[in-house]
């Protein structure tokens, strides 16, 4: 199965065929060749219950189901595109950062409280990421959007990585994250270094970090 091929850092070409269908961000199509059809979808393969969960979570980004035979070129707002291949593991990502993913991947919504209890909820609120995040599981590819490109930082046991919440894009693997505060007296006086909150990622996996503090 031919995979996604980046045309440049901001555009992606995705082959479409029988058995090679994708879900993509609605409106992200730039061009296509061949007989490709775009259908708006509300469920995006996660079923009625999943859709309800998403709607309640506010973790929904309009998607379209791309089918047919040919290839489609995708891009969004001039943002950098990063292809991530999954081999049976799970990727955790914000819904609005997903450009496209294979229909063979299972998507779901995860309540942050499941991962960090109360502190997970607080973390979501503090960082503006909401209380839910999207998960993708299975075998296949997906593509992430970032402002300025991403770097992959490996997380290993005994070697935690700290990330600015606004620069965090996604992570995969067995990773626990929690909010780490480094607030001092200076921050209360409004003279902080601007680095008062970080996400502390521990465990085993990879975290994707973008080169900007801007969401989009």
């Amino acid at each position: 199965m031919p995979g996604y091929s980046p045309i440049n850092t901001k555009m992606l070409q995705v082959p479409i065929g029988p058995g090679q269908e994708v879900y993509s961000k609605r409106g992200a199509m730039l061009a296509y060749a061949g007989g490709v059809r775009f259908a708006p979808t509300a469920t995006a393969g996660s079923g009625i219950a999943g859709t309800l969960g998403r709607a309640m979570a506010g973790e929904s980004s309009p998607l379209m189901h791309v089918t047919g035979q040919g290839s489609v070129m995708l891009g969004h707002h001039g943002l950098h595109v990063e292809v991530v291949d999954l081999q049976g593991d799970t990727l955790y990502v914000e819904a609005d950062r997903l450009l496209v993913y294979d229909a063979s991947l299972q998507s779901g919504t995860m309540f942050l409280g499941e991962q960090g209890g109360l502190s997970g909820v607080i973390r979501g609120q503090m960082t503006g990421q909401g209380l839910f995040t999207t998960t993708l599981t299975g075998h296949g590819s997906c593509a992430l959007l970032s402002h300025g490109g991403v770097v992959q930082l490996p997380v290993q046991p005994n070697r935690p990585v700290y990330v600015d919440p606004q620069a965090y894009v996604a992570h995969r693997g067995q990773i626990q994250n929690k909010l780490h505060t480094a607030l001092g007296l200076r921050d209360l006086l409004g003279r902080g270094s601007g680095e008062g909150f970080q996400l502390e990622l521990t465990g085993q996996g990879v975290v994707y970090v973008q080169a900007s503090e801007r969401k989009f």
């Binding site: 707002h77 001039g78 943002l79 950098h80 402002h147 300025g148 490109g149 770097v151 930082l153 070697r159 935690p160 990585v161 700290y162 990330v163 600015d164 620069a167 480094a182 200076r186 003279r191 902080g192 270094s193 601007g194 680095e195 970080q198 975290v207 970090v209 973008q210 080169a211 900007s212 503090e213 801007r214 989009f216």
Partner: protein
């Protein structure tokens, strides 16, 4: 994006520019004076060339980035780099910073009357919207650059302001290239492939 390995040293970086780190790091906002003494702080305030830096120290690796702009490293060996304060990302702890008045050019380019001076031995990381290029200036061959594409310069350079205003400009039919910075002498000028309209990273 810039990765800096620290082994107990201290660097200074733009406030809020950390995107990730590994290991033990402390972030501390610099005081009012920013290591320039009281006079330096007063000059900076008067000049409007304010820049808020933080000190980063510790053991490990820190990743710095700002608004998805390109990062360029400039090594200094005792010479002086003049850079717009908004283009400065990070600098080695042992480098000294100060304010240099530039005169008339700032008035019309909207960059203020002054620019930031960095001197000493160490590395400076400067930001540019798109990859910056270094243009060499030699004796007898002056270089003119668009003030909005100018990022930094170093060496023995004099700069003056060139205007090419004629009746077409007055009528609103100008080519858009009415003002240039002209550098003469010997040194390097760094320019970026974008014209700062509303500041860095205004494209999205």
């Amino acid at each position: 994006m810039l990765a800096v390995d620290l082994m107990g040293e201290t660097i200074r970086a733009l406030n809020g520019s950390m995107v990730a780190y590994e290991g033990q790091m402390q972030f501390k906002r610099q005081g009012m004076t920013g290591g320039e003494g009281l006079m330096g702080a007063v000059r900076r305030r008067v000049a409007g060339e304010s820049v808020t830096l933080m000190e980063i120290s510790g053991q490990g690796t820190v990743y710095l980035a700002h608004e998805a702009t390109e990062v360029n490293l400039v090594p200094l060996q005792g010479d002086t780099l003049l850079v717009e304060s908004e283009s400065l990302l990070a600098l080695d702890g042992q480098l000294r910073t100060g304010v240099q008045f530039t005169g008339l050019r700032g008035m019309s380019t909207g960059q203020g009357l002054a620019t930031t001076k960095v001197e000493g031995h160490g590395t400076v990381a400067i930001l540019s919207d798109g990859p910056a290029i270094a243009l060499e200036v030699v004796q007898g061959q002056p270089l003119s650059v668009d003030p909005q594409a100018y990022v930094a310069h170093r060496g023995q350079l004099q700069q003056d302001f060139v205007t090419d205003v004629n009746w077409r400009t007055v009528l609103g039919q100008g080519s858009g290239e009415s003002f240039q910075l002209r550098f003469t002498g010997h040194g390097l000028v760094y320019i970026q492939p974008a014209e700062r309209g509303e500041g860095l990273g205004a494209e999205v």
